[in-house]
C-alpha cells in the first residue's frame, strides 16, 4: 500500500508528460466542433459546384433529379474522405451515416409538402362558397368549374360516416374491452383476426357488402338492398372496425392495473370497474381513437364504389337510392375528360384534405399531454406501471397499431436516447 503511493513519481507513466510530443487529449465521440461544420458545409458546396460544372457546363444537362442525386452522392463521398483523413475511418462512418439518416428523415417532408401544396393550388381555382351549397344540378361540360358544388357529396359523406360510426363503435369498444379486460382463451385468436382484418383491402369490404346484401336482392326491387348510403356505411364500418378496436385496445392496455385492482378490491364488479374506472381513465385516448377512425373512413373511396355508387344530385336519404360522398365526387370528377370537371374534383380534394387535416389536428389536440402544463413530473402517468411479466400488458403488439395511433396517444412515453 505505502509502496505504491511512493512509486508513482518514478513510474514511467507519470514521467510521460515531461517527454516532448503532442499532448493526447481525451476526445468525445460525438464532439462536433465548428471545424466539423465547416467540413460539412464545404463538402456540400464543393459537391454542388462540381456537379453543376459537369451537368450544366460540360454536358448538355440532364434532369434536376439526376443533378441532385449525383450531388448528394458526391457530397457523401467528399465528406467521408475529409472526415476519414481528419478523424479516422470509424468516426467518418459514423458521421456519414448520421448525414444519411437525417437526410432520409428530411426527404419524407418533400412529398408531403408537394402533395399538400399541389392540391391547395389546384383546389383553390374552383373552390367558391357555392361549392358548399349547390349540387351538380344542370351542370354541363361547357360551364366553368366554379359553377355547381358538392353539397350532395358533403351530406352523403356525413351520413355515411356517421352511420358507419354508429355500427362500428359499440362493437369495436366491446371487442377492445374483451381483448383487455376478460380472461377468455379466445383473446389470442380474436387479436390475431383483428390484426389481420386491419390489413383487409378496403375494396374487398365493399365487394363483400355488394356480394351479400346488394347482389342477391337485386331483383327484389327493395331500395334498402340496392346502391345506397346505408350499404356504404356498412362497408365503411368493416374498414373502421379494426382501426378503432386496435387503437382503443392499445389505450386500454395503458390503464394501470393498480386502478383496476383497487376497484375490484373495493367490491366493484368487473363491469362497474370497466365503466367507472377504466373508461374514464382512458377517455382522451379513446376519443383520439374514434377521431382517427373517422379520419380514416372519411377518405375511403374503394368500398363506396360498389355500395354508394355515386350520384350527381342531392339525395339526403341514405336508405334509398345511390348517394354521392366526397371521395366519390373527387374520384368521379377527375376521371371525366373536361377540364372544368377535373378542377371541380380538385376543389373536392382540397375540402377532403382540409377535413382530414382538421380531424388529425383535433385528434392531436384531444390527445395532447395535459400533465405537462400542470407541471407534473411524469408524462401521461399511465405507462409507468405496465407490468413487464404480463404478456398482455407489455407493449408487444403496440407496433401493429395503426400508424398514427401511437403517436397520438400521450400516455406512451417515448424512450430517451442515451
Amino acid at each position: 500500500m505505502s509502496e505504491t503511493t511512493v512509486t508513482p513519481p518514478t513510474s514511467p507513466q507519470r514521467a510521460a508528460p515531461s517527454r516532448p510530443g503532442p499532448v493526447r487529449r481525451a476526445r468525445r465521440p460525438r464532439e462536433f466542433t465548428n471545424f466539423d461544420v465547416v467540413v460539412l458545409v464545404g463538402s456540400l458546396i464543393s459537391a454542388l459546384c462540381f456537379n453543376w460544372l459537369i451537368f450544366y457546363r460540360l454536358t448538355a444537362g440532364a434532369s434536376l433529379f439526376g443533378f441532385l442525386l449525383c450531388s448528394y452522392l458526391s457530397f457523401l463521398a467528399l465528406f467521408a474522405v475529409v472526415t476519414a483523413d481528419r478523424l479516422g475511418r470509424l468516426v467518418a462512418t459514423d458521421r456519414v451515416m448520421t448525414v444519411v439518416v437525417v437526410s432520409a428523415a428530411a426527404i419524407v417532408f418533400v412529398p408531403l409538402v408537394l402533395l399538400i401544396g399541389y392540391i391547395l393550388v389546384q383546389g383553390l381555382k374552383a373552390l367558391r362558397p357555392n361549392f358548399f351549397v349547390n349540387d351538380q344540378q344542370g351542370i354541363t361540360p361547357v360551364l366553368p368549374s366554379t359553377a355547381g358544388g358538392a353539397s350532395h357529396a358533403i351530406v352523403g359523406s356525413i351520413e355515411q360516416v356517421g352511420l358507419a360510426l354508429l355500427w362500428s363503435l359499440p362493437l369495436a369498444l366491446a371487442a377492445a374491452v374483451f381483448l383487455n379486460e376478460s380472461r377468455s382463451k379466445w383473446r389470442r385468436p380474436v387479436r390475431i383476426f383483428v390484426d389481420a382484418m386491419s390489413g383487409l383491402p378496403s375494396i374487398v369490404a365493399g365487394l363483400f357488402i355488394f356480394a351479400t346484401l346488394i347482389l342477391p336482392f337485386a331483383k327484389s326491387g327493395n331500395p334498402l338492398f340496392g346502391y345506397n348510403g346505408f350499404m356504404a356505411s356498412l362497408a365503411l364500418a368493416i374498414t373502421m372496425l379494426p382501426t378503432i378496436t386496435r387503437t382503443v385496445d392499445v389505450v386500454l392496455r395503458l390503464v394501470p392495473d393498480g386502478l383496476r385492482e383497487a376497484s375490484l378490491a373495493l367490491g366493484a364488479s368487473r363491469a362497474r370497474t370497466v365503466f367507472s374506472v377504466v373508461f374514464p381513465t382512458a377517455r382522451t385516448g379513446m376519443t383520439t381513437a374514434v377521431v382517427l377512425g373517422i379520419a380514416r373512413a372519411v377518405g375511403e373511396t374503394a368500398p363506396l364504389l360498389f355500395t354508394a355508387f355515386g350520384y350527381d344530385l342531392m339525395n339526403a336519404n341514405p336508405f334509398s337510392g345511390s348517394q354521392e360522398s366526397l371521395p366519390l365526387f373527387v374520384y368521379r370528377n377527375i376521371r371525366k375528360p373536361d377540364i372544368s370537371a377535373i378542377e371541380r374534383g380538385f376543389a373536392g380534394a382540397l375540402v377532403l384534405l382540409l377535413l382530414v387535416v382538421a380531424l388529425f389536428a383535433l385528434a392531436r389536440f384531444i390527445g395532447r399531454d395535459r400533465s405537462k402544463r400542470r407541471g407534473a413530473p411524469k408524462g401521461g402517468g399511465a405507462a409507468v406501471q405496465t407490468n413487464p411479466d404480463d404478456p398482455f400488458n407489455s407493449p408487444t403488439s403496440d407496433a401493429l397499431a395503426p400508424a398514427g395511433a401511437l403517436a397520438m396517444n400521450p400516455h406512451i412515453q417515448e424512450p430517451m436516447t442515451p
Partner: protein, 340 residues
C-alpha cells in the same frame, strides 16, 4: 402448509376428518351483471372473428360461378380477362403479377427510407424534433389514398418520366428496365410503386420505430461505453435487436401495398398484360387486382363473379402476408426483449 405434507401424514388425522387445514379453493364467481358483461364483450370479440370468416365465405360462394366455368387452375394461370367471347376467358394471373410488382417496387423504396426514418426518430432526434418527425409521418398516414392517387396521376407522373427515361436509356440492358421503342412512360408500374411507397412508408416506420425504441437501454449504453460510435452502437445493438421488427414491418407494408386500391386504379391503365419475355415496369401498362376491381364497379353478374374470385385471391394473399408479419413481429420481440 404444502399439500404433500398433508398427503404424507394421513395416519393421525382420520379420527376427525374436519379438523385438518384444507386449502380453500380460490374462485371468482361472477355476479349476474358480470356474466352478462362477459357475454356481451365475448360476443363482440367473437363476432369480429366471425365477420372476417363471413367475408371470406361469401366471396367464395359468390365467386364459385366464375371459377367453375373457367376451372380453378385456368383461372389462376390465365393472363387475359375477356368476357366478350364464349366461353368467357378470365384469369387472374396478369393481375397478380401486376399487384406483386407494384408492391415490390413500393417496398423496395419504402423499407430503407422507413428504417432510416425510424432511426432518426429513435436515435438521432431531440425530444422536440422527434415529436415533429412523428407528426409528419402520421400526417402522411392520414392523407387518404385517393389524394395520393390524384397527386401521382396528375403531378408526379409527368415529373417521373425523365427518371424513367434515364433508367431505360442507361440501364435498359437489364431486362427489368427495358422499354419498347416509343412507349409512353407515364402510367407505369414503377410510378405506381413509388406512389404506393409513400403510402406504406408510415406503417413500416411506425413498426420499426416501436421495435427500435424497445432496444434495452443497458445494451446500448454498454456499446457506447466500450467506445463505440453512435452508428457502431446502432449496427451492433439496435439493428440486430430490431431485425424481426424490420422484417415484420416490411411484410406488413407489403400487405398494405398489395391491397392498395384507389391510387393504383388511377395510376395504371388496368389492362392485364401478358408478361412474357420481359417485364416492362417502366412503361405504360399493368393492372392490379384491387385496381381492376375498382374500375369495374357496376358490371354484369358474370364479371362480378369473376371480380369476386379475384377479390378472394387478393384477400387470401394479403391475409397470409399480414398473418406472417404479425407472427414475425411478435416472435422476434418476445424472444429478444427480456434479458436486460
Amino acid at each position: 402448509m404444502s399439500e404433500t405434507a398433508v398427503d404424507d401424514a394421513p395416519a393421525p388425522i382420520p379420527a376427525s376428518p374436519k379438523v385438518g387445514p384444507t386449502p380453500r379453493i380460490v374462485t371468482e364467481v361472477p355476479s349476474a351483471v358480470d356474466r352478462r358483461f362477459n357475454a356481451v364483450t365475448m360476443g363482440a370479440g367473437i363476432s369480429v372473428l366471425v365477420l372476417l370468416l363471413l367475408v371470406g365465405g361469401f366471396l367464395l360462394i359468390q365467386s364459385s360461378d366464375a371459377i367453375s366455368q373457367t376451372g380453378i387452375l385456368r383461372f389462376l394461370t390465365r393472363t387475359e380477362w375477356r368476357t366478350d367471347v364464349q366461353p368467357p376467358a378470365i384469369g387472374v394471373f396478369g393481375l397478380l403479377t401486376g399487384t406483386v410488382l407494384v408492391a415490390l417496387v413500393a417496398v423496395f423504396f419504402a423499407v430503407p427510407l422507413s428504417v432510416f426514418c425510424a432511426l432518426a426518430i429513435t436515435e438521432y432526434s431531440t425530444a422536440r424534433r422527434r415529436k415533429w418527425l412523428i407528426g409528419v409521418v402520421d400526417l402522411l398516414a392520414a392523407v387518404p389514398s385517393l389524394l395520393f392517387g390524384l397527386w401521382g396521376f396528375l403531378f408526379l407522373s409527368d415529373k417521373m418520366v425523365p427518371i424513367s427515361r434515364w433508367l431505360s436509356d442507361n440501364l435498359g440492358f437489364i431486362p427489368f428496365f427495358h422499354t419498347e421503342q416509343n412507349a409512353s412512360l407515364t402510367g407505369s408500374i414503377f410510378i405506381a410503386g413509388v406512389v404506393v411507397a409513400l403510402m406504406v412508408l408510415p406503417i413500416i416506420t411506425s413498426v420499426t420505430r416501436e421495435v427500435f425504441s424497445q432496444t434495452p437501454a443497458g445494451e446500448k449504453e454498454a456499446a457506447l461505453a466500450l467506445g463505440g460510435t453512435r452508428w457502431g452502437m446502432i449496427r451492433a445493438v439496435v439493428l440486430p435487436y430490431g431485425r424481426g421488427g424490420i422484417i415484420g414491418g416490411s411484410m406488413l407494408g407489403l400487405g398494405r401495398a398489395l391491397g392498395e386500391t384507389i391510387a393504383v386504379a388511377l395510376l395504371l391503365p388496368q389492362v392485364p398484360q401478358r408478361i412474357g419475355d420481359s417485364i416492362h415496369i417502366l412503361q405504360n401498362g399493368g393492372a392490379t387486382v384491387s385496381g381492376f376491381i375498382a374500375n369495374r364497379a357496376g358490371a354484369d353478374s358474370f364479371t362480378v363473379s369473376g371480380l369476386m374470385a379475384a377479390g378472394l385471391v387478393l384477400f387470401i394473399i394479403t391475409l397470409a402476408t399480414n398473418m406472417v408479419a404479425s407472427v414475425v413481429v411478435s416472435k422476434s420481440r418476445s424472444g429478444a426483449g427480456v434479458d436486460l
